[in-house]
Amino acid sequence: MLGEQKLKQIAEKVLKLSTAEETEVLLSVSTNSLTRFANNEIHQNMAWDNLGISVRVVQDKKIGVVGTNALDDASLKETVDQAIALASFQQPDPDFVSLPKPHPIKPVNNEMFIATEDDLAKGVNTVILKAKEAHLIASGAFANDASELAVANSHGVWAYYAGSSSNLSTIVLGKDSSGFAADVARKTSEVDAVHVAETAVRLTQESVDPQDIEPGEYEVILEPQAVSEMLAFFQWYGPNARIYHENSSCLSGKMGQKVFNEKVTLIDDPFHPEVFPMPFDYEGQPKETLTLVENGVLKNIVYDSYYAEKFKTRNTGHGLPAPNTMGPIPLHMYLAPGDKTREEMISSVKRGLLVTRLWYVRVLNPKTLNVTGMTRDGTFLIEDGKIVKPVKNMRFNQSIPEALQNVVNIENKLTRLASFEGEMINLMPTVHISKWQFSSKTLF
């Protein structure tokens, strides 16, 4: 880790080296370790350090970006020179107005925790021992990531943030069943390995001997991990200014209209006490708590500096690193809790499925946001309000906006989630949905 002062000096050096009209510097430093286990033993155990610099220069509305992972003086000069050279070959972007100006950034806690190999191995061993006691096989990973991020530009923007996270996830395998559990915290010592182990072992035991079930329309109770996996693509393709204004989002043209069930409120909150704070975006612009959908009505979509200028609106601080061809994305979105307990929701289901997680969710059509995917690691049949038996996995084909219109109830609390398949949603409740389309079976 280099610290704020050192990074600021590097940024200033780069800004001084640049002769372009406008220049932006994005700096990152990270130290990471990951202990991976399978078949009840550690099989991949690793650590790596890296740093990065990305320089964006603008000359006559022509933009070039160059990145490297060296911060010595010669590399800095080469990077700046190359970015200026790229921009000189570029075509002007008529919609580009300016790199953003500085705005006050809310301070957050910059504490970092770096785990040792032994810290991670101990947590892993807790899971392995619990699995062995139950005659089951554990696999998973315990990772610790500490990083610094800084953004500077020639208009005076300076933003710096440091933080860390520690993430333990496991899948426990039985003869014909499996169970998933995970936990995430800022410090390795706050990750509850015992709870992770017990949850995964319990789910594996509860899902032994899964029964065949016919595909079709079912009521579902989606547990928090499944809700996160369901909403991951909505997060990318839904409230994104680029896609919204291309008329390619399921929300396009619906600002101020009721888009989902009135029980659905979606909030992007980078300062929620249960998530890892992110006080500014990759352009150094302040983030804020932003309500995207309130009681089913579309209230806001997210912008970065380019799309805010292009559509003459406010920048909400959702820029990604340049060059960004995906548009601005809410990285801290969660579904606001409702007023029912998980048990109350299950007891209200006449015949339906309890889905612990989804797998391999992919978009069929980005505009209607129909997705397909599988259930994984424990799916259960509910009859007359009671969980009656585990069932084999099934494939679903489901429109996400349709599912959010068919929300019956939402759990009264949020569960902290570890990012698993790249999704960035860290908090979700359990959700009861009246209709979910399962289309085919698999063999396990």
Binding site: N69, N324, K367, S399, L443
Partner: protein, 503 residues
């Protein structure tokens, strides 16, 4: 740099085995959208890693810092990690019988993509993209290009000493058309970053993007008013670009020996191709021959040596429909031999790492469906006389069926049984002729049932090595570039039209 790698290796204290990789990656990316160059960027990343085998367990550490202090710290970390793991060991890691390798490899290219002027690249992309905008209904037009160079230096305590330079290039165009709630996409020559091969700028020239753009744009517009693909069990002909991903998902991942042994259970999952099926299982029909071939020219998985220093090979995974082999590594081949003593104690050379900061792991090279050979197919009764011939002849041989091209969506379960794919476009085949265009085509199946229903594969003239540059695997995640040789093929009685688009 090879000397530097040897210097690092010489500093590692005595262990059972150690290797050092230094990697320098450079990439250039251009993306244009609606007449504007949205991304013009270049990036480099350089670093090294140390992998040690000590007391029967691996330790791995990597750093960007190639100073003396950085090297010492990284070596010490790799040793500490091995020491921390040893207490949780169940079984010693052992390595296969490969002899040390000394050599070098360079992707054969005709035109260095980094030497072509940016002006020419930008002009060509904007021109191709402009050609897509055939109607006001085209709401997004895009063109993309990337070039990548990877220099790798590998040394090991067994005496391997290898230097490689891999170059690969990719390009494509994509049009999106919207009319009310209807949204349709059309890409060329493939979706999700176009075509990618280990070639130089000659690939870009071969693709002739601008010439194809008006047709691609028009197809996107026509799809808006096309009929929806019907639902039922029909004969299905897959175009090569879709078959490539079908192979990737239902064969390539299923034959990864690390998945089979449970090493990926915590993330991507396992595989239905369990070890007792080796040599006996009827994976596909008798005309299905699948290879892992790191030697095929132009494939994204083509190289001289893998990242454990094992030479590039061509291995039959499925021969005449029977499951024959896995893709393996130096530490998994011995494990398989313990389970099945008929198995060889040698890696198939299919291990790569996505960067200097990542562990080398089993990755697809080029997983190919070998082209149809008429002499092995027809005459056996159950196979079509069109086997080994052209796409035209295959269509002419189809009474009723659906021809699908260019992937739009893909999903498969964690044992690689149940898959579902959607493509951008399809056409109905009636009485041997291509008929009406169909929108929103999808099909679903169970892997071995599907491959056993294959009754014709087009011949070598229709065979192309498609690139899949976005294969994800491992924790921490590694995105790898893989290749898939395929010619169009026909599958009997496949479940088609499996999505109810209103729900």
């Amino acid at each position: 740099m090879l000397k530097k790698a040897e210097a690092i290796l010489s500093k590692i204290p005595a262990v059972t085995y150690a290797d050092v990789r230094i990697v320098e990656q450079t990439s250039e990316e251009i993306a244009t959208k609606d007449g504007v160059v949205e991304a013009l960027s270049s990036s480099t990343s350089t670093g090294f890693n140390v992998r040690v085998l000590k007391n029967g367990v691996w330790g791995f550490a990597a750093s960007h810092d190639i100073s003396d202090a950085g090297i010492d710290k990284t070596i010490a970390k790799a040793i500490e990690i091995a020491d921390a793991s040893v207490g949780y060991k169940v079984e010693d890691v052992t390595l296969d019988d490969w002899a040390p390798q000394v050599g070098s490899y360079k992707t054969p290219i005709k035109e260095d993509p980094f030497a072509v002027s940016l002006e020419e690249k930008i002009r060509s992309l904007l021109e191709a993209e402009k050609g897509l905008r055939v109607s006001p209904k085209i709401v997004i037009s895009q063109a993309m290009y990337s070039a990548n160079r990877e220099k790798k230096y590998f040394v090991s305590t067994q005496g391997s000493r290898i230097e490689q330079e891999i170059i690969w290039t990719g390009a494509g165009i994509e049009a999106s058309a919207v009319d009310g709630a209807e949204f349709q996409n059309r890409s060329y020559p493939n979706s999700f970053r176009g075509q990618n091969q280990t070639k130089g700028f000659e690939l870009f020239r071969e693709l002739k993007l601008a010439e194809n753009a008006p047709r691609v744009g028009q197809e996107a517009v026509d799809l808006l008013t096309a009929d929806t693909c019907p639902t039922g069990e029909f004969d299905l002909i897959l175009d090569g670009n879709q078959l490539a991903l079908q192979i990737h998902e239902s064969c390539g991942h299923a034959v990864e020996l690390d998945r089979v042994l449970g090493y990926e259970a915590s993330y991507a999952g396992t595989s239905f191709l369990t070890p007792e099926k080796l040599f006996d299982f009827q994976y596909g029909s008798a005309i299905v021959n699948l290879t892992a071939d790191a030697t095929v020219p132009g494939g994204l998985g083509t190289f001289g040596y893998d990242d454990e220093g094992t030479p590039a090979q061509r291995t039959f995974l499925v021969k005449d429909g029977k499951f024959q082999d896995y893709i393996t590594s130096r530490d998994t081949a011995p494990k398989l031999q313990k389970i099945n003593p008929r198995y060889k104690n040698k890696s198939n050379g299919t291990v790569r790492a996505s960067s200097w900061s990542r562990l080398p792991m089993i990755r697809m090279t080029n997983i190919n469906l070998e082209p149809g050979n008429p002499s092995t197919g027809s005459g056996q009764g159950q196979f079509s006389p069109a086997h080994g011939k052209s796409l035209e002849e295959l269509i002419a041989d189809t009474k009723y069926g659906i021809f699908m091209s260019t992937n739009r969506s893909w999903s498969i379960d964690d044992k690689r049984f149940n898959f579902q794919f959607g493509t951008e476009i399809a056409w109905e085949i009636k009485d041997g002729k291509l008929g009406r265009m169909l929108k929103n085509p999808t099909y679903q199946g169970i892997t071995p049932e599907f491959w056993n229903s294959c009754d014709a594969i087009c011949g070598p003239d229709e065979w192309t090595v498609w690139g899949t540059p976005n294969c994800g695997k491992g924790q921490p995640s590694q995105v790898m570039y893989t290749g898939h040789g395929a010619a169009p093929a026909r599958f009997k009685k496949v479940k088609i039209g499996v999505v109810d688009w209103k729900k």
